[in-house]
Amino acid sequence: MALVNVKTKEVKVKIVYYGPGRGGKTTNLEYINNTYRNQIKSEMVSLKTQDDRTLFFDFLPFDIGRIKGFKVIIQLYTVPGQVKYNATRRLVLKGVDGIVFVADIQKFQRKRNIESLNQLYENLKTHNLDLFELPLVMQYNKVDLANKGEDVIPTKILQQDLNSVLRVPAFEASALGGGNVMKTLKKIISMTLASIQDQLF
């Protein structure tokens, strides 16, 4: 649940990028951090392993102006994608307000995407949260690989695998070059803010 501070007139919103390891979650945050560096006051924090994999989380906070007199601070997190880190993934989901699910469209990742989404559902349940009620955006990442002749999963299949029941907004993206990174971000921010509107009086 978003933290509303009536004294400082601030709202802090937590958005988590979730998905299988190597899908491009950290790359999304790095792109946002590099593109908006001069508008972001805090440093991006990344807790990584020695081989540059996310160990705990990445963290990137920034302001997006005022709504109903409240200063809105968006705090982006990523989870560690590796299978063995599920306990840490669950910790990062604590207090989440909105989720971007970053799927990897490479063919050999098809099963991992589905497993990761199922695990997200289970992990949220441990916090008494329901994936079907949270703001959620799908991102099908690495579309650039299709042009390079790599074996990728067609968007239609991804929609069937991941989004046929949830039916949330979905974007094809190429986080490495920034393609649709901001579109994904704007969508999840607007959905999340809409969902917490009634917490602001």
């Binding site: 501070n5 004294k7 207090g95």
Partner: protein
């Protein structure tokens, strides 16, 4: 969620018990990593938001470790540095208080003052 009076009272408690005793920084956060309020002795350049996110992660990780070995929680969480140290204390079910203090102040004093702050904040919450 705290109302305005509660937040004012919490600020007063933190200032009078901790900042006025020579503590460098105090951050009161929720377990999701949001800072609720922060205070310093006037010469701090700490990045509070990053600190709060890391502190919540650290606390949550240690808490999860405690559960794994069958402890309900570790009552003392403390990191000692060359010049300053950091003390963590659970305040309510989902908030923690983090105190940074110089080596001129003893851990014993900090624990005593933090215990007072914890009691008083809990009184405010239940009032």
């Amino acid at each position: 969620m705290f109302n305005q009076e509660q937040l004012n009272a919490i600020d007063t408690i933190i200032k009078s018990h901790l900042i006025d005793s020579g503590v460098e920084n105090v951050i009161y956060i929720d377990l999701a990593g949001n800072s609720i309020t922060q205070h310093d002795n006037g010469n701090s350049t700490l990045d509070y938001m990053a600190f709060a996110a890391l502190a919540a992660g650290n606390f949550a990780a240690v808490d999860a470790m405690a559960k794994l070995i069958g402890e309900s929680e570790f009552s003392l969480l403390f990191h000692k540095g060359e010049k300053s140290s950091i003390h963590f204390s659970k305040v309510t079910e989902d908030t923690i208080l983090i105190t940074m203090f110089p080596k001129t102040i003893s851990l014993g004093i900090v624990r005593l003052k933090v215990a007072k702050v914890v009691t008083e904040i809990n009184e405010i919450c239940s009032a």
